[in-house]
């Protein structure tokens, strides 16, 4: 089963900024640990949500707005692809993502082919 894991930072980045050096190292190590897990494929790192541009098309006109589609806090922070046996296995990996314990969240989407 292939899952696309969407990591939302929420307040996590602010909260992590207040952590001790040691705790912060643990956060980096946890992210690195996830990237190195078998079954995980990382995608190129996403830049900051405030640097995003959102494009919509209404009545044939392209509307471009500054920022992410939803609010800054709700924007996707990073993405990785996980190959796992089932949803329980994916939930266990999601629970290891530091953002999930610092006020953010991980959304698990089964990957699907629509064409």
């Amino acid at each position: 089963m292939k899952y696309v894991m969407l990591v939302y930072q929420g307040d996590a980045q602010e909260r992590q900024a207040a952590l001790s050096e040691e705790e912060r190292k643990q956060v980096y190590a946890d992210y690195q640990g996830i990237n190195e897990m078998p079954g995980v494929t990382s995608v190129p790192p996403l830049g900051l949500a405030q640097n995003a541009t959102t494009v919509r098309v209404e009545g044939g006109r392209t509307l471009t707005t500054d920022g992410p589609f939803v609010g800054m806090k709700e924007a996707v922070g990073s993405v990785f692809v996980l190959e796992a046996d089932d949803l329980d296995a994916a939930i266990e990996v999601a629970a290891r993502v530091p953002a999930a314990r610092y006020g953010g969240a991980v959304e698990i989407r089964p990957s699907e082919v629509y064409w």
Partner: protein, 403 residues
């Protein structure tokens, strides 16, 4: 014969469906196949008599139907150059040793990745064999809504690969809690008068106790439901709510009380001290004459420490009022938040009434009535308020003892 058939269908539906879901790996396909097999049985068995092994007949028939369907699909998809992916259905199956996979099924139905209302509906459909229409009526929603709820849940199970298995040990405790919560929720829906749901929940509770005999909370929940349900007939008189102290004890189901106590004893023997076991112990004490309110208050104290629930504190207050007097009970009640909780106000009202503080009691009854929807409970409160209006307080009546 028809009654006998209903009985067989009732007993076998969950087991047959569970085996098929496990085998086919597809909830929808399994359900359709099971439905076809049961329909065929309903058609044939009344004339031909029951087969020697009804379960094996149902599973084999359903499996064959599903396999046919998969083959047809495969031929069709092959034409478009796509490949069908279900291969397990081609594997032979030993009809004499069908495993009981109802546990796997119930853990799938109650997976936390599904919405609670979907868990409830799916459990009733898959394990209880209720039709979509029956579930819809029991929960007072249109059949279409319920059908969509079920379809969406089954789709998610498949799309997100929610596993069909008993959770591994490190997840079992948490997942079992979710299963028990679903069963108890079904029971409580039924406790308000929809008897078929209460009976359904007890049936599920029995099945769980059979499947997980070593888990005290499973037995605790079953005991709790049996003990509550034993007083069902006496809880209502002419459609009106009757309090525990006023109930006609000859209408209590003594057989069910005994069964509930037996389950409770087993749970305690297994070392159970969890929330369901404690609640069952309390329910058991409620069926004793005279009622040991001090003991009940102590058990509510334990339960409150486990759950941290102010509602449990409110129940403890009632027991304390019985054992130590209304003043002591009221002191606990006044310390609770719960301003939007109708039982807080009805309890307060009764305790104030018993203390002769009529004006305050009246005020509290009115607040409770405001918070209570139409029905027996509201009419009960209105009667209490009317009784209060013209009379001097009679300190011998009960507060909200569990009805």
């Amino acid at each position: 014969m028809v009654a006998r058939l209903d009985q067989v269908f009732r007993e076998e539906w969950g087991r047959v469906l569970a085996v098929l879901v496990g085998f086919l790996g597809d909830f929808d396909l399994a359900e359709e196949a099971a439905q076809e097999a049961f329909a065929l049985a309903a058609d044939r068995w009344p004339h031909d008599g029951l087969p020697a092994n009804p379960r094996a007949w149902l599973i084999t028939t359903a499996r064959n139907r599903a396999t046919d369907r998969i083959r047809r699909e495969r031929v069709r998809t092959a034409k478009y150059g796509l490949l069908g992916s279900v291969d397990r259905a081609e594997e032979p199956m030993d009809a004499s040793t069908f495993p009981d996979e109802r546990l796997e099924l119930i853990f799938t139905c109650c997976h936390p990745a599904l919405a609670l209302e979907a868990q409830v509906a799916l459990t009733l459909r898959a394990l209880g064999g209720l039709t979509t229409d029956e579930i819809a009526r029991a929960f007072l929603v249109p059949e279409r809504t319920m059908a969509q709820r079920l379809v969406r849940a089954k789709r998610k199970i498949k799309a997100a690969a929610i596993p069909f298995r008993v959770p591994p040990p490190h997840l079992l405790h948490e997942r079992l809690d979710a299963v028990l919560a679903v069963v108890y929720l079904i029971f409580n829906e039924g406790y308000g008068g929809r008897d078929e749901l209460a009976a359904e929940a007890i049936w599920l509770g029995r099945a769980l106790a059979e499947l997980l005999p070593g888990h005290p909370e499973v037995r605790g929940l079953l005991a709790l439901m049996l003990l509550h349900d034993s007083r069902r007939e006496a809880r209502f008189g002419d459609g009106e709510l009757v309090l525990l102290a006023d109930q006609d004890r000859s209408r209590w189901d003594t057989g069910q009380i005994a069964a509930g106590r037996a389950e409770l004893d087993q749970a305690l023997a297994l070392g159970g001290r969890g929330p369901y076991v404690l609640q069952a112990a309390i329910a058991s004490l409620h069926t004793e004459v005279p009622c040991d309110w001090a003991q009940i208050a102590a058990l509510y104290g334990q339960l409150g420490r486990l759950t941290g629930s102010p509602v449990v504190e409110l129940d403890r207050a009632i027991a304390v009022a019985e054992s130590e007097g209304p003043e002591a009970g009221l002191r606990i009640v006044e310390g609770l938040g719960l301003d939007d909780f109708r039982y807080l106000h009805s309890t307060r009202a009764e305790l104030l009434r018993r203390l002769g503080r009529v004006d305050e009691a009246r005020e509290a009854f009115r607040r409770a009535i405001q918070l209570t929807g139409d029905g027996a409970e509201r009419r009960f409160l209105e009667r209490r308020l009317t009784e209060l209006a013209g009379t001097t307080p009679s300190p011998t009546r009960e507060p909200r003892a569990p009805a």
